[in-house]
C-alpha cells in the first residue's frame, strides 16, 4: 500500500556541504542524536560527524516543536493573543507575558501603576529562580548528578505554588496583562514569598555543596565549551551564556523596565566562558533574584494594579452590575478588542536565558499585524556547533545543558 505522503528522503548530496570530506569518504561516522534523546532538553536533533568519540561537526536541526505561534497570534485580538505567549518559553511564562505587555504598553502609551510594576518584578524574579532550578536539575542530571535534580524540582514546586496562588495556574499564567495585572495578589501572597526568601538561601547553599567543589562535576565542566566574549556576541548570545564569557550585559540593568532601576542588585559575570562559568553565573543570579524580590516585597506600594484606561483594561466585576458603560466596555473588549495605533515597536526583557524581544507591528486594527519573537535560546543554540568542535559526545551533553535551551523558545 502506498502512503499518501511521500516521506522526505534526505540524501547525502543535500547535506554534503555541512560535513567534512572525510565523512563522504567514509572515514568518519555520521550519527543522529535526538530528537527523542533525554539529554537534548526537548526535541532537538543533532547530526554529528564523529571520529571515534570526537565531534568533527555538529549540525543542529530544529523545528520539531514549531507550533506557528507567530502566525496564530496574527489572527487573534491583542488580549486573546497574549494567551499564546505563555506557550513559547514554558519555563518563563511570566517573562513572556511581560515582554508582550511592555511592547503593547509602549504602543498604547499606557501607564502601569507602581504596585503592578512591583508585583511584575517579584513574579518575574520568582520565575527566573524556578527556571534556573529546572536548568540546574537537568544540566546536573546530564553530567550524572542525580540528587540535584530531585532537590531542584522540590523547590521549584514552591514557586509554582505561588504562581498558582496568584493566577490559578502553575505554568501558563497569563497574569500580566496590558496596563497592569489580571487582578491584585491575594493576602497569602506576602507570606508565601517570605517563605521563599527565608528558605531559598540555604537551599542554594545545598546545591552548591553538591556541585561547586565536587571533583566529578569539575571534571565534566571546567574548560569545556569555551567561548570568548567576541564569539558569543557574534553569535548573538545573551543572558548567562554571554555573561559567563565576560560582558555584564543585562537588560534589567542597562535598559531598566518595570522599575528595575529602583532595586539594588549585581550582575554576576565570569570570564572563563566555559560550562562551569555559566554554572557559577546562574547560581549567583538566583541569589541576586532573591535580593530583588526582598526589596520589592518590602516596599510593595499599595494602590490599584491596573491602568484606569477603560478602553484597554477591562472594568472590575463589581462595576459591571451597576454601570452600563462598564458593561459596554467589557463587551467591546472581549468581542472586538482594542485598536492599537499604526506602527511597530521592539521591546525586550531579560529572560532567564537572555534577551527576549518582541517585535510588534500594528496596522491600526484590533489584531497584531505581525508579531516576531526574538527568543534567546534560538541564538544561544546557534553557537553550539562552534562550542563543541573537537570535544567528546559527553562534553556535548554538558554544553547543551549549560546554554539552557528551551525548545519551545527556539521553535516557537
Amino acid at each position: 500500500m502506498t502512503t499518501p505522503y511521500a516521506l522526505p528522503e534526505v540524501t547525502l548530496d543535500e547535506i554534503k556541504h555541512l560535513v567534512s570530506q572525510r565523512a563522504l569518504d567514509g572515514e568518519t561516522v555520521l550519527l543522529n542524536m535526538g530528537p527523542q534523546h533525554p539529554s537534548t532538553h526537548g526535541v532537538l536533533r543533532l547530526l554529528l560527524e564523529l571520529d571515534g568519540e570526537t565531534i568533527i561537526t555538529c549540525v543542529p536541526d530544529i523545528g520539531f516543536l514549531h507550533t506557528g505561534i507567530e502566525k496564530n497570534m496574527e489572527s487573534k485580538t491583542y488580549l486573546k493573543a497574549e494567551v499564546m505567549t505563555d506557550r513559547l518559553d514554558y519555563l518563563n511564562t511570566v517573562g513572556n507575558n511581560l515582554a508582550y505587555c511592555l511592547a503593547l504598553e509602549k504602543m498604547l502609551d499606557l501607564d502601569v501603576p507602581p504596585r503592578a510594576q512591583a508585583i511584575r518584578v517579584i513574579l518575574a524574579e520568582l520565575q527566573r529562580i524556578a527556571s534556573h532550578l529546572v536548568w540546574l536539575g537537568t544540566s546536573a542530571l546530564d553530567v550524572a548528578a542525580m540528587s540535584v535534580f530531585l532537590y531542584g524540582f522540590r523547590e521549584r514546586e514552591i514557586i509554582l505554588d505561588i504562581l498558582e496562588l496568584v493566577s490559578g495556574q502553575r505554568m501558563m499564567t497569563t497574569y500580566i496583562r496590558p496596563g497592569g495585572l489580571w487582578r491584585d495578589v491575594p493576602v497569602e501572597f506576602d507570606d508565601a514569598v517570605r517563605n521563599v526568601l527565608n528558605t531559598f538561601p540555604t537551599r542554594i547553599d545545598e546545591y552548591e555543596a553538591l556541585l561547586t567543589k565536587n571533583p566529578l562535576f569539575l571534571d565534566r565542566t571546567l574548560g569545556i565549551g569555551k567561548m570568548t566574549a567576541e564569539e558569543a556576541i557574534q553569535w548573538g548570545c545573551t543572558g548567562a551564556t554571554l555573561r559567563g564569557s565576560g560582558p555584564d550585559w543585562d537588560l534589567r540593568k542597562k535598559r531598566p523596565y518595570s522599575g528595575y532601576e529602583q532595586y539594588d542588585f549585581e550582575v554576576p559575570t565570569q570570564t572563563e566562558g566555559d560550562v562551569y562559568a555559566r554554572y557559577l553565573v546562574r547560581i549567583s543570579e538566583m541569589r541576586e533574584s532573591l535580593k530583588i524580590i526582598e526589596q520589592a516585597l518590602n516596599k510593595l506600594p499599595l494602590g490599584p494594579v491596573n491602568s484606569n484606561n477603560r478602553k484597554i483594561v477591562p472594568p472590575p466585576r463589581s462595576e459591571i452590575g451597576t454601570s452600563m458603560e462598564a458593561l459596554i466596555h467589557h463587551f467591546k473588549l472581549w468581542t472586538d478588542g482594542f485598536d492599537v495605533p499604526k506602527g511597530s515597536v521592539y521591546a525586550a526583557v531579560e529572560s532567564p536565558r537572555g534577551e527576549l524581544g518582541v517585535f510588534l507591528e500594528s496596522d491600526g486594527g484590533p489584531k497584531p499585524y505581525r508579531v516576531h519573537w526574538r527568543t534567546p535560546s534560538y541564538n544561544n543554540l546557534e553557537a553550539l556547533p562552534d562550542m563543541t568542535k573537537g570535544l567528546l559526545i559527553a562534553d556535548l551533553v554538558a554544553i547543551i545543558g549549560s546554554v539552557d535551551i528551551v525548545l519551545g523558545d527556539v521553535d516557537r
Binding site: T2, H66, K71, I233, F359
Partner: protein, 170 residues
C-alpha cells in the same frame, strides 16, 4: 531621538541615502537592499553595534512593491544603543543579500526568512528550510498563506473526515 544615535543615523543617511523615522520613541532607518550589507558593516565596525538581535520580515500583501519589509534590530553593548533597519523588498522574486559575512548569527535568521516568507538570500552558505519540514509547500508567514483549520470529527461526519486522513504504513 537619542543624542548618541543622531550622528549614526546622519551617517547612514549621508552614505546610504537612508531615511530615518521615529515612532513610539524608537528610531527606524529605511535602507535599500543594495546597501544593507555595507550599512551593517559600518554599524559593526564604526559604531560598535556588535550584536545583531534579530532579523525578521513583515508582509504587506496585497501591496506589490514593496511587498515585504525586512527588519534588522542591532544592539550596541558598549554604547547601550538599539537601532532598527528596514529594507523594502519587492513582491516578485524577493531577494536580499546575506549578512552572514558580517554577523555570524544572521545564518539561521535568514534561513527562517526563506522558510517563513520565501525571501531568497543571495550568497547564503546554507539556505535550507529551518523550522518547517524539508518537503513543505509554501511559506507560512506570508499573508496570502491561509491559517488552516481542521474540522472536528463528530458522528455525523465521521466517514467524511475519516476518508481525508492519511493512511498507510508508516
Amino acid at each position: 531621538m537619542d543624542k548618541k544615535l543622531q550622528p549614526i543615523v546622519q551617517t547612514l543617511e549621508k552614505d546610504f541615502g537612508a531615511e530615518a523615522r521615529e515612532a513610539f520613541g524608537e528610531v527606524e532607518v529605511v535602507v535599500s537592499s543594495d546597501n544593507i550589507v555595507a550599512a551593517g558593516q559600518k554599524l559593526r565596525d564604526d559604531f560598535e553595534f556588535a550584536l545583531l538581535s534579530t532579523i525578521t520580515a513583515v508582509d504587506y500583501f496585497p501591496e506589490v512593491s514593496p511587498r515585504f519589509h525586512i527588519v534588522y534590530v542591532f544592539n550596541s553593548l558598549s554604547k547601550n544603543l538599539q537601532l532598527t533597519l528596514r529594507v523594502p523588498v519587492a513582491g516578485e522574486n524577493p531577494t536580499i543579500p546575506t549578512l552572514t559575512g558580517v554577523y555570524k548569527n544572521a545564518n539561521w535568521r535568514e534561513r527562517e526568512l526563506w522558510d517563513m516568507f520565501g525571501i531568497k538570500v543571495d550568497g547564503h552558505p546554507d539556505l535550507r528550510r529551518l523550522l518547517m519540514p524539508d518537503d513543505w509547500d509554501g511559506h507560512p508567514l506570508r499573508k496570502d498563506y491561509p491559517l488552516g483549520y481542521e474540522e472536528p470529527q463528530f458522528t455525523f461526519n465521521f466517514e467524511e473526515i475519516d476518508l481525508s486522513k492519511p493512511k498507510g504504513e508508516f
